[in-house]
């Protein structure tokens, strides 16, 4: 009798072959050996790890059939003046613009900000000049939410990114902007932004992700098929206040992964807000650690899902110390046949008494064909805590819709207004006017296509 055995899942590398990796290594050969060693190890992990299996709880509801590593390339350099969309729309304290993994434009910090000791530079320069800081914080948190393979891929192919360091007691009054472009068919990009806010410092950092693609001939609205695996590390020291905004607006054909890792130390206050607008399939994993008493983390996200887009959001709030608090609010607006997945977990360690944790996923359905999935979860090992979670999905309110229409507002515009109304609770949290306007504009664009 023939023996039935299940073959081990194939470990796929797709376009990210050993040769591609060697080519990457050759380009970063000038970086410190410890870092190159980490990249080699990461590549080995990536190559040895199978694609996520159907049975993996961390991928429940996700469409795995469209997760492919085939058909991408490490793109050739482009110059800033070759990009079709060059308007940045934000005049922060300084900005860095990356395209196809390389720095293409920058505006250094103004003199006073630089005098205060704030460092705003490329990751490559930081690796060369501030190796210890980078070593301590760059990708220092484990991938815990199911994307080990893609996190390893990010670490292996990470070529450059942004480094922001705010020293003790310093306030960066203006936001710092980092722009990441992907340009050309099949372009694979690995953006990264590392933010270190030291004791009692204050900073706002905004990441913008955007495809610089001409609309494809097949479907003028969708743009080119690209691949993005981005990461962000945010470290907030004692009493620091760090605000991080990310605006994901890749082309509608892009496969996107984004990993956020936040560490909040004693009395630190972190606010992160992710806007998800682009990509065909976008997975976002957000991991927030409240590691010392008094730490507070706000995790906010807004998603406008339309067409056949799929947004897959996985979050983890870990309370490791007493008197810590976290507040997660993810709001999705779903149109057409779009699909969202929210899976969130609050973990309270045994000695994290007096934890106050909140988690909420709200879905506004603008179409009967859209699909919103919610998997909220709690894992509490302390006994004196307050943890609440909830998920709701509601059809857009017909009476509200009628009220707006009865004033002459067209149906599509009425829906847009109601979506903005639904988002206002989150949008209202952005104090910086220009960033607020940028976010609003990206959302508005989605109702035009």
């Amino acid at each position: 009798m023939a023996q039935i055995s299940t073959p081990a899942p194939a470990s796929v590398v797709g376009s990210f072959t050993r040769e591609a990796f060697d080519a990457h290594l050759a380009r970063v050969a000038h970086l410190p050996p410890w870092w190159l060693e980490r990249q080699r190890a990461a590549y080995a992990r990536f190559a040895a790890t199978p694609m996520p299996p159907r049975t993996n709880e961390g991928w429940r509801f996700s469409n795995l059939s469209t997760l492919t590593l085939e058909g991408f390339n490490l793109p050739a350099p482009v110059r800033f003046d070759q990009l079709a969309h060059r308007e940045l729309g934000v005049t922060g304290a300084g900005h860095l613009v990356f395209a196809n993994n390389r720095l293409v434009a920058s505006q250094p910090l103004d003199a006073s900000t630089a005098d205060a000791g704030i460092i705003f530079d490329t990751l490559q320069n930081a690796l060369l000049k501030h190796g210890d800081l980078v070593k301590a914080h760059l990708l220092a948190q484990p991938s815990k939410l199911g994307s080990d393979k893609f996190a390893a891929l990010h670490e292996a192919f990470l070529e450059d990114g942004a480094f922001i360091y705010v020293p003790k007691g310093v306030t960066a009054t203006l936001p710092v902007g980092v722009f990441h472009y992907a340009s050309g068919p099949g372009a694979a990009v690995f953006p990264h932004t590392l933010v270190i806010a030291e004791e009692n410092s204050k900073v706002t950092v905004a990441d913008f992700f955007r495809s610089d693609s001409q609309p494809s001939t097949l479907n003028p609205q969708l743009g080119e098929r690209q691949f993005a695996v981005g990461g962000n590390d945010l470290y907030a020291g004692h009493g620091a206040q760090a605000t991080y905004l990310a605006m994901q607006d890749w082309s509608r054909e892009t496969l996107s992964f984004q990993f956020n890792a936040t560490v909040a130390r004693r009395d630190a206050k972190v606010l992160s807000l992710n806007l998800h607008a682009g990509a065909r399939q976008a997975r976002h994993e957000s991991f927030s650690q409240l590691s010392a008493p008094g730490a507070h983390s706000e995790m906010l996200a807004l998603t406008v899902a339309h067409g056949a887009q799929e947004f897959d959001q996985r979050t983890l709030q870990i309370h490791q110390a007493p008197n810590t608090s976290s507040n997660l609010l993810y709001k999705n607006a779903l149109l057409d046949q779009a699909k969202t997945i929210f899976s969130g977990l609050i973990v309270v360690d045994p000695d994290a008494q007096k934890t106050d944790a909140y988690q909420s996923n709200r879905n506004l359905m603008l179409s009967d064909e859209a699909e919103a999935n919610s998997l909220p979860g709690l894992e509490i090992q302390a006994n004196d805590v307050r943890c609440t979670h909830g998920a709701t999905s509601a059809r857009i309110d017909r009476e509200q819709e009628f009220y707006l229409e009865s004033r002459g507002i067209r149906a599509a515009q009425a829906q847009e207004l109601l979506v903005f109304g639904f988002f206002e609770e989150v949008l209202g949290r952005i104090e910086h006017q220009e960033l607020h306007d940028r976010l609003t504009e990206i959302i508005r664009e989605k109702f035009k296509t």
Binding site: F402, L404, S406, G408, I409, R410, A414, L417, F420, E424
Partner: protein
Amino acid sequence: MSQLEIKDLHISIGDKPIVKGLNLTIKPGQVHAIMGPNGTGKSTLAKAIAGHPDYAITGGDVLLDGQSVLAMEPDERARAGLFLAFQYPSEIPGVSIANFLRAAVQARLAEGEELDATGYYKRLYAKMDLLKIDRKFTSRAVNDGFSGGEKKRCEILQMAMLEPKMALMDETDSGLDIDALRIVAEGVNSIRAAANPPGILLITHYQRLLDYIVPDHVHVMWDGRIVKSGDKSLALELEAKGYDWVKQELAPATA
């Protein structure tokens, strides 16, 4: 100047007929008041004319300036000049009055035409001052957490901004205190005093409002029909005698 004609109108909710053959013509600039007991179909009439999707028109027609509005979407009807001041205005969290009204004004412009923001705010503030609405309200969410009276004033503010040809005002007076009633009435009267005053259908339970906004005609609605019409004195008579009086008058006819 516009005219509204309601012809033998039948309206159902689900399978249930609510309005059962109603006829009414509002000539340009006229004010008609409709009074009638609770549940008689007054709001149904107003909302159906505005195009609410829950109400099925099973017979008859509604013409604005000779054009049937029944095939139009609610937003088209509004842009054609109809306005409904709701008995129970919806609360819309997160959408500010300023943005909401701006969208409504913008919707009336030709495609590609940009709203003149300065002029818009100037006009908005002037109307707010007239209606004694605090300018801070512009940044508040539409009707969200408004008191009953504030909601009604906000309806009139919208009417003043959108300058309809025909306004259906459904119990705009209920929930208003004495001062607010006067302010709202003054607001409506100033709209009436404009160059091209709208026709107004005023649904009310209280004769008091009609002291402020003097109607050209008063109608009594009963079980989905207009059963009695007269001038302002009809409202006074109703106030004195109650609806039982109308019922008794009707008895022989319906027996």
